[in-house]
């Protein structure tokens, strides 16, 4: 019986040690996954401006259709002043 009494704390310590070991592995895995996410997010975020600059050229299309100078040419003279 005395042996049994000694065995109980040893068993508890063993279980605690196993738990601590498992927890360590878990933290390591979670840590690695978090770093992967952080890296992927950083790469994706860094490329977010890739397409934005191209929009700045939209004004060129509008500029091509501007024919106000032709209207001015047509209005070069005032017939009322003849």
């Amino acid at each position: 019986m005395k042996h049994w009494k000694l065995l109980v704390p040893v068993a508890i310590l063993a279980v605690m040690a196993m738990g601590a070991g498992c927890a360590g592995t878990g933290r390591e895995t979670v840590g690695a996954k978090t770093e992967v996410d952080a890296s992927v997010d950083a790469i994706v975020n860094a490329s977010s401006e890739e397409g934005q600059n191209a929009a700045s050229e939209d004004a060129n299309a509008e500029a091509v259709t501007d024919t106000s100078s032709l209207t001015n040419l047509g209005n070069s003279y005032d017939p009322n002043k003849f």
């Binding site: 895995t29 770093e35 790469i43 860094a46 004004a59 060129n60 299309a61 017939p79």
Partner: protein
């Protein structure tokens, strides 16, 4: 006549001449057809000068527009270069972090595969964005060239019509035609020239085509972005799965 009176007379004469001189252009400008032929050379000369001046302004504006288009394209390229350099630096930095994370051969292989996937995804996206820009610029250039040819033809026709109307008015005056009729005909001819130019200008309006160019570019860039994000998520999932398996074992 005293010296004072002489001075007063001189001042009055000078004033009268000055007032007359100022009134002359107004009388010419606001003529109603009377004595039109007496000033036809001035009137036609003014019209001709104004048309050529505004034609020069039109040319200047087109040249400025073209220069601005080229400048915007160069600015876009420069900015895109900056963005990509920043992106490359960030990616290299993140790759280094992942390299340090990988300890076993299996982990190293997983990170290596991830890097290859990301590099390929970025290259694919850049190629697509470059193509979208090249296509947009080519479409714009093509439209610009076609419009320029049309505009040149319109201006040429307008100027020829104006010159013809002015020459006809002068010839009619020389031939002794009724001045009011000459003036009315000139106004009508010039109005016709103006109306034709305006009608042609409105017909030229290619806003829809230009908007389509913008929309196609935008869609291509958005599609490239979507494909990039899909590839990145796949790379993320694969790497996490690989690292989870190796780290958990």
């Amino acid at each position: 006549m005293t010296r004072t009176n002489s001075r007063r007379l001189a001042v009055s004469l000078v004033s009268a001449v000055l007032m007359f001189g100022q009134a002359l252009p107004v009388a010419f400008a606001e003529g109603t057809g009377d004595n039109f032929c007496a000033r036809v050379t001035t009137v036609t000369g003014n019209v001709s000068t104004d048309v050529r001046k505004n034609d020069g302004e039109h040319e200047k504006k087109l040249n400025e527009r073209d220069a601005n288009i080229v400048k915007k394209e160069k600015d876009t390229d420069a900015k895109l270069g900056e963005v990509r350099a920043k992106e490359d630096k960030a990616r290299t930095n993140e790759f280094s972090k992942l390299d340090k994370l990988a300890v076993t051969d299996a982990q190293k292989a997983a990170v290596s595969a991830f890097k290859a996937s990301v590099t390929a995804a970025i290259a694919t996206r850049r190629t697509a964005v470059n193509k979208a820009l090249v296509d947009f610029r080519a479409g714009l250039e093509s439209a610009k060239t076609a419009r320029r040819a049309s505009e040149d033809a319109m201006v040429k026709t307008f100027k020829a019509s104006v010159d013809s109307a002015l020459a006809k008015a002068k010839a009619s005056c020389t031939a002794g035609a009724d001045q009011k009729t000459v003036k009315a005909t000139l106004m009508s001819d010039l109005q016709s020239a103006r109306t034709k130019l305006e009608t042609d200008r409105k017909a030229l309006d290619g806003s829809a085509a230009m908007q389509n160019l913008v929309a196609v570019k935008k869609a291509a860039i958005e599609a490239a972005s979507t494909a990039f994000h899909v590839s990145m998520e796949a790379a993320r999932t694969n790497l996490k799965a690989a690292l989870k398996a190796t780290l958990a074992s």
